[in-house]
Amino acid sequence: MRVAFVGKGGAGKSSLAGAFARLLARTGERVLALDSDPMPGLAFALGTPGSDAGLPDDVVEEYEEDGRRRYRLRAGLTGSGVIERYAVQGPDGVRFLQLGKARGPRWDNTPAHFGFQRVLDDLPGEGWSIVGDLPGGTRQPFMTWGRYASTFLVVVEPGPASLLTGRRLTRLAAMAGSPRVLAVANKVHGSDDARRVAEGTGLPVVGAVPFDPGVAAAARAGVPLLDQAPDGPAAAAVRCLVEALRSREAA
């Protein structure tokens, strides 16, 4: 399974992606969680130790092509090798790899940025499930940062701004070779909200996560949802989402 969580900023991508990755790992799958956002987020939701560290600059080497500077993984290094070496161990056996986090006004991550992208181009296949958390908005998902995904989960709140982002992502997906794109309605207050998300985005809604005070409590405490409110309605809904995606994969 290769899944990327996308949507408007604040829709709940990181919280859901972190819980999803851990619950998927609990089914016995070998899970790699990828955080492509230069701002911290997924590490909190997963419960991995906080760190800014991404890939070291020397994972890539520069070369010239048609007079332009380009980057590739250094000789002898593969995407799988990078993951073995640099992905950190998270709860439930999830491996976690992140783009290095932004710090300071003149932050330059050019080598690490390209290194991360080269790893995305060469992710391990057989035996791994990939769960990616992308930055909010429409700029990146279907270009370089999300191209590894076979399924995009658009996290949508039942409000006009979030629905609009969902519609735009749907259109962009169609222009990008139509990968499988599904909606996850988040912070819903009733079945009517899930219907609004379906109608507002034009996407099949594969999961509906109810509004759950446990999510806010976890975020305030900086604790993963699965540790703060494992028996709450939001965690239960993410379990259903994992099962729904696994069933689709198996079909």
Binding site: S14, M39, P40, G41, F44, R103, P135, G159, A161
Partner: protein, 133 residues
């Protein structure tokens, strides 16, 4: 474009993309105030700290922190502790704002007397006074 908009008596309010990439490219055109909006969650406070630090180091403008969706004193203290040297404006969690956003209506139109709207009006007044001083 932002640089060309400035004119005497005019006020520009810009809503930036999440993160730091866009705001830091303002480098050559500093602004009067950079409002860093945070929620009292661990991730949001961490992102806000980085934003405030970067804006300050880059000399972009005075940082004012807006603590949004504050429920209680503990929330407010969490934000103040994260930004000990910044001015902090508190906007309470307000169901009227949630409802307005779900309806696609500006909170100022839907609920002009709501506590969150009042807090933002107070912030606007403070910023204008500081500008005039």
């Amino acid at each position: 474009m932002l640089g060309q908009l400035e004119q005497p008596g005019g006020i520009i309010v810009a809503d930036f993309e999440a993160g730091l990439g866009t705001v830091l490219r303002l480098g050559d055109t500093p602004v009067d105030v950079v409002v860093v909006v945070v929620e009292p969650t661990a991730a949001s406070l961490e992102v806000g700290r980085r934003a405030a630090e970067s804006v300050t180091l880059a000399g972009l403008g005075r940082v004012v922190v807006v603590a949004n969706r504050v429920r209680d004193d503990a929330d407010e203290q969490r934000v103040r502790a994260a930004f000990p040297s910044c001015e902090v404006a508190v906007v309470p969690e307000d169901e009227a704002v949630v409802t307005a956003e779900r309806q696609g209506v500006a909170p100022l139109d839907a609920a002009p007397d709501a506590p969150a709207v009042g807090a933002l009006a107070g912030l606007a007044t403070r910023l204008l006074r500081a500008q005039a001083a």
